[in-house]
Subunit: 413 residues, 2 copies
Amino acid sequence: MNVLFVVCDGMADRPVRELGRRTPLQVAETPNMDALAEMGITGIVDPVAPGVPPGSDVANMALLGYDPYKHYAGRGALEALGAGLDLAPGDVAFRCNFATLGPSGVVEDRRAGRIRTEHATRLAEALRSVAEEVGSQFGIRIEFVPTVEHRAVLVLRGEGLSRAVSDTDPGEAGRPGRECVPLDGTPEARRTAEIINLLSERFRRALEAHPLNRRLPKPANAVLFRGAGTLPRLRTLRELYGIEGACISAVALVKGVCRAAGLRLLDVPGATGSYNTDLNAKFSSAVEALREGADLVYLHIKATDLASHDHAVGRKVELIERIDKALGSALDALDLEDETYVLVTADHTTSLRTGKHEGDPVPVVLAGPEVRPDNVDRFDEISCARGGLCRLRGTDLMPVLMNLLGRARKFGF
Amino acid sequence: MNVLFVVCDGMADRPVRELGRRTPLQVAETPNMDALAEMGITGIVDPVAPGVPPGSDVANMALLGYDPYKHYAGRGALEALGAGLDLAPGDVAFRCNFATLGPSGVVEDRRAGRIRTEHATRLAEALRSVAEEVGSQFGIRIEFVPTVEHRAVLVLRGEGLSRAVSDTDPGEAGRPGRECVPLDGTPEARRTAEIINLLSERFRRALEAHPLNRRLPKPANAVLFRGAGTLPRLRTLRELYGIEGACISAVALVKGVCRAAGLRLLDVPGATGSYNTDLNAKFSSAVEALREGADLVYLHIKATDLASHDHAVGRKVELIERIDKALGSALDALDLEDETYVLVTADHTTSLRTGKHEGDPVPVVLAGPEVRPDNVDRFDEISCARGGLCRLRGTDLMPVLMNLLGRARKFGF
């Protein structure tokens, strides 16, 4: 038996005025998710705890069964893992954005107009020697690796570093970039902040001079750093449950969490992490991986979250309907009678109104051979609150699944 | 956006034989609470944990978001805070009752016939010099302050004190007053017990001699001490969420918990903490405070609890109906579409049959701009158990509210 674990990023929402005070999931036509609800069991899940808005790192960590209050050690390291970098204990990694700064140092666009990946790659090439130079000055190695669009990863490798440093990213446009400051009194934090500030300045100089930037409508003339983190030490799902799992996601951060959990990363052409992502390709790859023997496939879809961040009501509804269609094809190819459990949920609520992650619970549906069905037949935030799973925590889902797979370890005799 | 947080003390109940095995909330006509249920989301809440009967101090602490298992440090200090006294770390405070003792030392009435506040105040004046004298004997300062009816507060201020001492209050009438004994092996606990026993005896002598007591049908000829406590160190709601909150309660203990949480105490003329309390005045003050900019008003109503303690079935039903009416006027003055969240709950179950706090969950209803409505349309213990909030803990409510107000801090990125 195996599991398809589908996580639609930020899919859960609050009642939306433009939708007649209903949620996108209530409004969207989702015959396949509804069919899962009808045959399976539903509930609501607090990714971390009631009322606590989780970041995607924390939320996906929790959904994979790891208590983020115990294990979370910053986003940067997860992002780096997801970008394919390996980290050693002591390395400190940052999440980075190419950004557009105005002449006075104010951040005009935190994503440099969502710069195209190939452009970011070219700019990053020019930054490699700058990073090496600053690194050698401090006796460490510095790697700067672009990922998707404006996103990149920075890793400081060596001794005497700390993740207790602040972000240079002000978090929203219209504010000046910040200085990196140590967050505790250690010499390691002081030194790390010094490195980041020097790097920040040198990167800026190199980017200003780059010919590509003259052609871009929003020049990527700075790199913002945030989320300093070190490697989380997780026991893998193989160690915990003896399963072989795989992950499909276009988001480096989620890939990083999955890698930390010991999941194999599947590369799906056409999976972009954006609106244009190829959902059919992702679901097909998931089905294939299950056929080839994976015990669990963690399938993550980013675009729903983007729609909320962009306050794009219609787009979010449409995306949910597209996901439902792609899910439908997968369901046709899977045997939910005897072989496969399918779980669909969101990693958190992202409000179309606020554009932010919120602490409201998310709906969950679980169907497959031996679930105890309830009498909910719609998949949305309101219907699932009446479901047979009642209200769970994010970290509960993996044990619930492993129990159904016969992989749970007995406690006591 | 803001919140009106209504807590009706001990309002929740078990099915009552005299009410055809229904609860007072099921029987009472509560069109306004029911309207909130219909438009909002409902659930049940374990103030502390399933099956654990909480004291009012513990319950209100939990409802304000503080884990009492971490933060509770005895009732006395909270009572003292609520009576307007300030406490320093190390001070030990007690909750006190004027009581009627029979000739053999047996407690005949733990509340001295619910002695009137002005009588208690006159008696307390006579005890001031006694307290000073005993204090100086031990090199500490002793304050004895009457609050409402038979209730008073004692504070021991100085070095070498401990809250690890037992109560002299036997807890029910018909038993003899107890000696105060140390609850651990420290010299501080031994010394504190010694102080209380001496004080107890001197108070008794002074009260026996007081002319007022000759006129009282149940002479207040003793003071019983209980709930030794020290100052709880809570991060205020302002520190935690950046909100400005206010509290309306006539009960010193609840006021103390609210003060410890950083809430401003609003004085409402006519709020007595008893059956004759002016509910309309309390709700009007709450609405006014919200209009004047408070982010949260914690409105506590004591009388429902008294009715249960007094086994007064009809009275409890009638009180719930009176609360519902006063709530209705407040709802008319509030904008639940865009501005205000209203939460109604109880701090615990108080059983009309047993007259005691019980560990059953309490119903909760939450209505306001962006809640996800459920299909519950009645506010009572049974209906709300089918609600969309499912079953929460007391400490979950504040994060849930702060999340809706946009005041919750994100965990992770």
